[in-house]
Amino acid sequence: MEYQIWTEKYRPQSLNEIINQKHVVERLKAFVEKKTVPHMLFAGPPGTGKTASAIAIAKDLFGKNWHDNFQETNASDARGIDVVRTRIKEFARIKPFDTPFKIVFLDESDALTSPAQHALRRTIEKHSTVCRFILSCNYSSKIISPLQSRCVVFRFTNLSKEDVFAYLDKIIKGEKLNVDKSALESIYELSEGDLRKATNILQTASSVGDKITDDIIYEVASQAKPKDVLEMMNFALQGEFKAARKKLHDMVIKQGLAGQDIIKACHSQIFDLNIPDEKKIQMINQIGEYDFRISEGGDPLIQLEAMLSQFILNK
């Protein structure tokens, strides 16, 4: 089976291949050696190796049977904690295959609400004899403290330029690519140390031309930027509420984007807008308010519309 998406094709197959995160990897290797693993919480920015480490430790521990003893669940997709619990229960019912325990990897655990996390606490205790849990999250502060206290917390740090280059180098050699030095620099800057993003940019750029230049990288990156979001904000700032609202409806209703991802994109693109800095700060304050309302249980569509209606006042 050959992976064609490079993030999978070049995924680390063992802890030895994890890029940097030395302090984490060292201790994980010690667990593998002793064949004991505690419950763990992997916290850190996206694309720094949390999922990769979880899979790598499973492969190192279980060898070729790793698939039977490893279950991956995305908290943000599973509809509610009950789905998560049922999945875990079913997985835990079957005895570990040729090993003392199995591993449950709960990706994006910070997507779980706090009642759901409390429910998860019970699940972890109940299945502790058979399963070890690895939770991953971007911010450990979003994980309730009773859960944190049951886990050994590992912090994944931002990757440096050298780290990103080291990883990209593997791909460049593997795919026999011709990449300019300045293009590499640009990939690093655009990715901000996120290896998934860096890899996706590189793969998309490689399909544009034989020689990958700085210009190609920027073109790929700018095409990937959510243009709809920028257009929507510009409509609102010109006082065209209906047009802005329509853009929003396209994204939420037709494309199915999550409200909080749109809010995130609004925030990250504020500084691309052609308006005075004071207004930018004012808008950030407004964005933050509606982000909060959504997290309080507000409907993303109506809250984003309310946000846009505030933007038209900034005209």
Binding site: M1, E2, Y3, Q4, I5, T7, E8, R11, P46, T51, I55, E72, N74, A75, S76, D77, D107, E108, A111, R196, K197, N200, I201, Q203, T204, V220, Q223, A224, K225, P226, G239, F241, K242, R245, H249, I253, K254, G256, L257, A258, D261, Y290, R293, E296, G297, G298, D299, L301, I302, Q303, E305, A306, L308, S309, Q310, I312, L313, K315
Partner: protein, 382 residues
Amino acid sequence: MIWTKKYSPKKVSEVVGQNKPVEQFTLWYQNWKPGKKAALFTGPPGVGKTCLAEALATENNLEVIELNASDYRTSLQIKEVIGQSMKQRSLFKRGKIFLIDEIDGISGREDRGGPGEIIKIIEESKFPIILTANDKWNIKLSKLKTHCQLIDFGKINFWGMIKRLEEICQRENVKCSKDILKQLAKRSEGDLRSAINDLDTLSKGKSEILIKDMESLGNRERDENVFDSLKIIFKTSSPVAARMSIKNVSKPPDEIFWWIEQNIANEYEKPEEIAKAYEMLSRADIFRGRISIMQDWTFLKYMIDLMTGGVAISKKEMYKKFSKYEYPDRIKYFGMTKFKRAKEKQQLLKLSEELHCSARKIRTEFLPYFSLEKLSGNEFKI
């Protein structure tokens, strides 16, 4: 015999004030053969939907198999009843028509695939089927509509109604002034059945109806149209009037919410007004969230007051214009794109296993670079 029965039309041509529906329906019936679409009559109560179907049956000596959808909880039960009589030939070798009344009253949640069953019945039926519904915009009908010829009935015209009431008075030998008939027609709001019922009640044991008799008639709680309620919310400056306006609308508050949302920018023009109205909806929505998180309906009153009264007072003064109010995008497109989104979600969930990240992350991290077809198709065989 009650008058609504006694004076119900016996021939299609006797149906009052519905020229266009009558014409459409006659054409539909003449061209009907098995496999063709059913007829879906939509319109407010008492305007002649059931009457037209029955008149056709009487005129053509057809047996009417009548079912009231609100009496049967699920479409499966309807299927059973229809299925049985479908097999039996009519007693005297007459033809049959099926009349399923109040199809929008069929319970939505308990019978998943509900409209699916009805659609099957339509496709397999050897006899013409007529469905009736009050609200042609009802979401429950959206799937069904593609299998039906839509025939929309309007309210009965004021003078047409008076003429019909006069005829009845004449035949019953009851004296009744034009003024009283006008009042009866007015309070019926286009509902002929209720007007005939009122006339019937007033004339019991009398040969003349007097103005003072009118007082004995109680007011009917009308199922108000959501458009009427929008008009009040957007035009009034009184929060109480705005709040009252949704009382008799048959839609639940969280659906009315989206009707209001859709039309704020159609009515209000000043940015401050739009912003203020949306702020009210945003606050109303927070209370909606609290209701659903805490399962505590005591918060409902705040949600309703904010979304009606709050939006009403967001304008500086009333706009003296006619605004065309629209059907909410949110409800329209969610229905339309449901299937597409479900399929996409399925693809994303499959990919999420292969790429070791959530469907949501695939949207934000992979889809900007690779299309969904590319990711799940052969081009990138995983």
